[in-house]
């Protein structure tokens, strides 16, 4: 018998599965394969064990969504649960969550990996992971809401932070570390840099990903924070992220300190806090409780400013464009190189938040499928203005030095020794500079 799919002679042995299929057959995770027409082509023994169905009966059947009324047999419920979402049929890897057909409190999290050729989708590989839900059955969520959550949380994958910028590589390593521990963590970074995004990424990377994450604005009444921390109604909130920590009222800060003093941190929501402020300054000014600062800063995560990762600008724009298009109700596929070059020149003081708003405004103005220079907001459209006069460095430095020396001499009441100490330079150097700058001290100081 001639060999079929492989060059290895043993794979051509009659009755023996091809090597690839043997790998799936031996897998402990339920795996299945459907055709471009959604017909079930293959399922492994782990799939049979999970579904309680024999593959021989299900082979060739169509995996499509059935209403509960239309599904006559248990196998119909199984095939309905396997039906690939529209995104998979468009050739994009995706994930969905379906209620397990056996009506237990379990969910099937199904990852779909389609492949295609010039003729379209050829097949979709599916892998099932069973997620067990805890809690009272009457409080379970409808399947559509669970799927909405899965789609939304797709935004918070670690892959969305991939970057060559050293500051982001460091951030990714810090997020991985933070995800492996239930300890509280402080997320610091300039305004709009993505601190909440990082917090949600950490949550979805960690052991608590099946529970919920609450992002709490520091402006809310302290009673809201108290409720989230202490009420048993919120047992399923796995992570609490406090935004703008330094603006939290003192009594709310005290609540957090109390929460962190608990001997069993794993039983409570895990605490993450974000801030753009210099917390050491806030503590010195009396606006931040020292024990709260100390408890949070054991694990500190730094989110860089956008201008520390400008090489990511094209990738960030690609990531944000679908949301910006949805906000503007426009269909835009990309950005021209001229517009991109102009965006590279901007300082981005409000970082990613500003970039998103610029993209929304540009999408709103866009007339075509690509953002161009004319679509950018007015303040970004013009080229940076060249200076109308030169910027002489040496003269400027000399002026600054003169003012500092004059100030130091005034403060030292003409005593050059004391003035040199104030300026943190040797006295001889001060004397030399006084002569070179044409400055004269009124009184000679003691040596």
């Amino acid at each position: 018998m001639p060999p079929t799919h492989s060059h290895r002679p043993d794979d051509a042995t009659p009755g023996r599965r091809p090597r690839g299929e043997r790998l799936w057959h031996a897998a402990t995770e339920p795996v299945f394969l459907i055709s471009g027409q959604r017909r079930l082509l293959y399922a492994n023994p782990a799939w049979e064990k999970l579904t309680g169905a024999a593959f021989a009966e299900a082979r060739g059947r169509v995996c499509r969504r059935h209403s509960k009324a239309a599904a006559a047999e248990p196998l119909d419920h199984v095939l309905s649960a396997l039906a690939p979402p529209q995104e998979a049929m468009l050739g994009r890897p995706c994930q969905t969550r379906r209620r397990a057909p056996d009506k237990t409190l379990a969910w099937w999290e199904i990852n779909y990996f389609p492949w295609s050729n010039a003729e379209g989708i050829q097949g979709i590989l599916g892998k099932i992971q069973v997620i067990h839900e805890s809690g009272p059955t009457h409080a379970v969520l409808p399947e559509k809401l669970v799927q909405l959550r899965v789609r939304t949380n797709h935004l918070y994958r670690l892959e969305s932070w991939s970057s060559d910028a050293p500051a982001v590589s460091r951030l990714v390593a810090q997020m991985r570390l933070a995800a492996q521990t239930p300890l509280p963590a402080l997320i610091q970074g300039p305004p709009g840099s993505g601190k909440e995004w990082a917090a949600r990424t950490i949550h979805h990377l960690g052991a608590q990903r099946e529970s919920f994450v609450a992002a709490l604005d520091a402006r809310l009444p302290p009673a809201t924070l108290a409720d989230l921390l202490t009420s048993s109604r919120h047992w399923h909130i796995g992570t609490l992220y406090v935004k703008n920590l330094e603006r939290l009222p003192r009594d709310a800060q005290a609540l957090l300190v109390q929460h962190l003093d608990n001997d069993n941190p794993e039983s409570q929501p895990r605490l993450l806090a974000g801030s753009s402020a210099n917390l050491a300054d806030e503590q010195r000014a009396g606006r931040l409780l020292p024990e709260l600062h100390a408890a949070l800063s054991a694990l500190t995560i730094q989110v860089p400013a956008l201008n520390e990762r400008m090489q990511d600008l094209p990738r960030l724009i690609d990531q944000m464009l679908p949301r910006a298009c949805a906000a503007a109700e426009k269909s835009v596929r990309g950005i021209s190189s001229a517009a991109l070059d102009r965006l590279r020149l901007h300082a981005w003081p409000d970082n990613l938040a500003e970039l998103y708003q610029v993209l929304v405004q540009a999408c709103t103005r866009a007339k075509g499928e690509q953002l161009d220079l004319d679509d950018l907001p007015f303040q970004l459209r013009g080229a940076p203005t060249p200076p109308d006069k030169p910027l002489p460095l040496d003269d400027t430095l000399a002026k600054v030095e003169r003012r500092m020396i004059e100030l130091a001499l005034r403060l030292a009441q003409g005593n050059k020794t004391s003035a040199a100490e104030l300026l943190a330079i040797w006295r001889q150097r001060l004397l030399r500079r006084l002569e070179q700058l044409g400055l004269e001290a009124k009184d000679e100081g003691a040596v």
Binding site: G135, A139, V140, L141, P142, K144, L145, L148, R149, T152, N153, L155, S211, F212, V213, A214, A215, D217, R219, L220, P221, A223, T224, D227, R233, H234, W235, H236, I237, R323, A324, A326, A327, A328, E329, A353, Y356, V360, T364
Partner: protein, 121 residues
Amino acid sequence: MRHTQLITYGVDEAAAERLTALVRDRAVGLRVTHNAQACLNLMRQGAVGVLLLRIGKNLESEFTLLAQVAQQFPQIAPVVWGGADHPRLAGLAWDLGAQAVLLTPGDHDRLYDVILRLLPD
């Protein structure tokens, strides 16, 4: 043009009247909507402020709207308000980006305070 607004979705007339009194002295506009598209269009016109989203009639469309607003319009703070205490729904609302979730009678007492605190200065 960005102008501060309190936008409501799914809120009845009586509640809307009380909210009118609340925002009248603060130069904040009140816009009452019962349609997701109308709600989103207000945000597309540049509104900043708070969205008070009443849930309970059609959870799928209400939570879809919540997710859309949280992802697409970060200048709007969504506040989820409902009449039934359902901890998992509350958790999901927080998870999808709500800035406050008020589902119990005790929560309702805080509604006005929460709205005022979340409105931009």
